[in-house]
């Protein structure tokens, strides 16, 4: 997530998106899952990816 490096920052962005999609009540229910997903994204964001490394979907 560009410009966001901590799980807390990422969580806020995901939670805002969830509120838009599902409303306040559902987004609140999703808090634990959103927090876990934010932690996972934070792991990816912290990792260095070589600039020339392209994704390969079916391999």
């Amino acid at each position: 997530m560009a410009g966001e490096h901590t799980a807390a920052e990422i969580f806020e962005t995901l939670a805002a998106q969830a509120r838009l999609l599902w409303g306040e009540t559902d987004a609140e229910r999703q808090r634990p899952a959103l927090a876990q997903t934010a932690e996972e994204i934070a792991v990816l964001v912290r990792a260095t990816v070589p600039a020339d490394l392209e994704p390969k979907f079916f391999a």
């Binding site: 997903t37 994204i41 990816v49 994704p55 979907f57 079916f58 391999a59």
Partner: protein, 450 residues
């Protein structure tokens, strides 16, 4: 004579070919076993008694005519209920697909039939092959989970209802239930077996898996169903190996690599001690053993795997989910909800990190033939509220490399434990050869007290 329902794939195929057992006799024996145990184990969604007996009869007539028969002629099999069967309901453990009847067969269904296998019916899957548990019970102790998502396939093979079943694996859904139920589970390289006609969880991570009771049986079934399929964009074009021959050439002790960090730290004490003792027995039998470090990108593997699975599951389900959200179980619902809010750039970062891991994995095999780990961190957990922990399988599914689990003994509580063997990409022959060597060296076959 040994009861027909207890025979493995190779034994049934050999008896049928020698006309010492008829396909109808074998199918009838398996159906009888199934009827006795099914009320307790709940491994089947549907049993196609009429269709199976008709197929067995046709097989028998072909043999009597002297026709050329397939390598699985007369072998009863079960198919996980995410695998398309034309005219036979494929509900995927879901209320959304409750009445879905495919109009065509999956490629694996066709290949099994072409090889002469008798399809007994559809085995229980967790909802859409994800984490919401199924009602299936573990044949070793019905108070324990059989694992998932290929719950019914594992329970049915372990309980001697059938000698073989197909499952699938996106994280650990073939090897984990196989290990929890004390049988052999094989997941080949990504693309080795066609996914056409198999309801997806995640296109880039899904594999078809094989559940049997011996390495030789795994090789036979793989031989019958592996190979390129124009219907599947991810299908491998590389030639299929001679897997049946590979397991007959298992005389050379393999060089084994053990992974000291993550896999030791995350297993319970009993599993750690058991695995160490098994590796020692293999070393005593002639295998060389050395520790192999995990590559740097391993640190991102589990996170990347979960991100890919959530986004791709959401992409597959989104249209149905928006109109039938209440029909989904809580864990799959949560998976889809998360997949719908993960930004595309993070999904692509996960894909790039997956490729980085795939590039680093070959380094792990520089000085060893095969990697070994406990198949699961613990034996099958008590209760049916979870299908267990996939973290020992997910990294290799993520990398798309072949893995197999062998039963290696029982825990103090009487639940099966297993050893996972891992080979480089496309090296199924190496994997099966090493697995057969270990199987002979360990000489462990587990049968639940049913």
């Amino acid at each position: 004579m040994t009861a027909l329902h207890t025979l493995g794939v190779a034994e049934v195929a050999a008896l049928v070919q020698r006309r010492e057992a008829s396909p109808v006799e074998v199918t009838t024996a398996c159906l009888a076993r199934l009827e006795v145990l099914e009320p307790t184990l709940q491994a089947w969604v549907s049993v196609d008694r009429h269709g199976a007996l008709a197929a067995a009869k046709r097989c028998e007539q072909a043999i009597q005519r002297g026709d050329r028969i397939g390598v699985l002629a007369g072998v009863p099999v079960g198919l996980k209920d995410i695998i398309y069967t034309a005219g036979l309901r494929t509900a995927a453990g879901s209320r959304v697909y409750a009445n879905f009847v495919p109009t065509y067969d999956a490629t694996v269904t066709v290949r099994l039939q072409q090889a002469g296998a008798i399809i007994l019916g559809k085995t229980v899957t967790t909802e859409f092959a994800t984490a919401d548990p199924s009602p299936t019970r573990n044949p070793w102790n019905t108070e324990h989970t059989p694992g998932g998502s290929s719950s019914g396939s594992a329970a049915a093979v372990a309980a001697r209802m059938i000698p073989a079943a197909l499952g699938s694996q996106t994280g650990g859904s073939t090897l984990r239930p196989a290990s929890y139920c004390g049988i052999v589970g094989l997941k080949p390289s990504y693309g080795r077996i066609s996914r056409y006609g198999v309801i997806p969880v995640s296109w880039c991570l899904d594999h078809v898996g094989i559940l049997v009771r011996s390495v030789q049986d795994a090789a036979l079934v793989l031989q019958a169903i592996a190979g390129h399929d124009l219907h599947d964009a991810s299908s491998l074009a590389q030639p299929v190996g001679n897997y049946s021959l590979a397991v007959q050439q298992a005389d050379t002790p393999p060089r084994l690599g053990v992974l000291p960090d993550f896999f030791r730290d995350h297993a319970d004490a009993e599993t750690q001690q058991h695995t160490a003792a098994i590796v020692e027995r293999l070393a005593h039998a002639g295998a060389s053993v050395r520790e192999v470090p995990l590559p740097p990108s391993y640190a991102t593997v589990l996170a990347a795997h979960r991100i890919l699975m959530k986004v791709e599951a959401a992409a597959f389900h989104v249209d149905m989910f928006m109109t039938q959200r209440e029909q989904y179980g809580p864990r799959l619902r949560e998976t889809i909800e998360m997949g719908l809010v993960i930004p595309a750039v993070d999904y692509l970062r996960a894909q790039r990190l997956r490729r980085l891991f795939q590039q680093e994995v070959p380094q792990m095999f520089q000085d060893v033939d095969i990697l070994v780990t406990p198949s699961t961190p613990t034996p099958a957990p008590r209760g049916l509220g979870t299908t267990g922990d996939a973290r020992f399988q997910s990294p290799w599914t993520h990398a798309g490399i072949p893995t197999i689990t062998l039963p290696t003994g029982l825990s103090q509580a009487g639940m099966p434990l297993g050893l996972q063997l891992i080979a480089p990409a496309l090296e199924e022959e190496r994997l099966l050869r090493a697995a057969r060597w270990c199987e002979v060296a360990l000489n462990v076959t587990l049968a639940p007290p049913l």
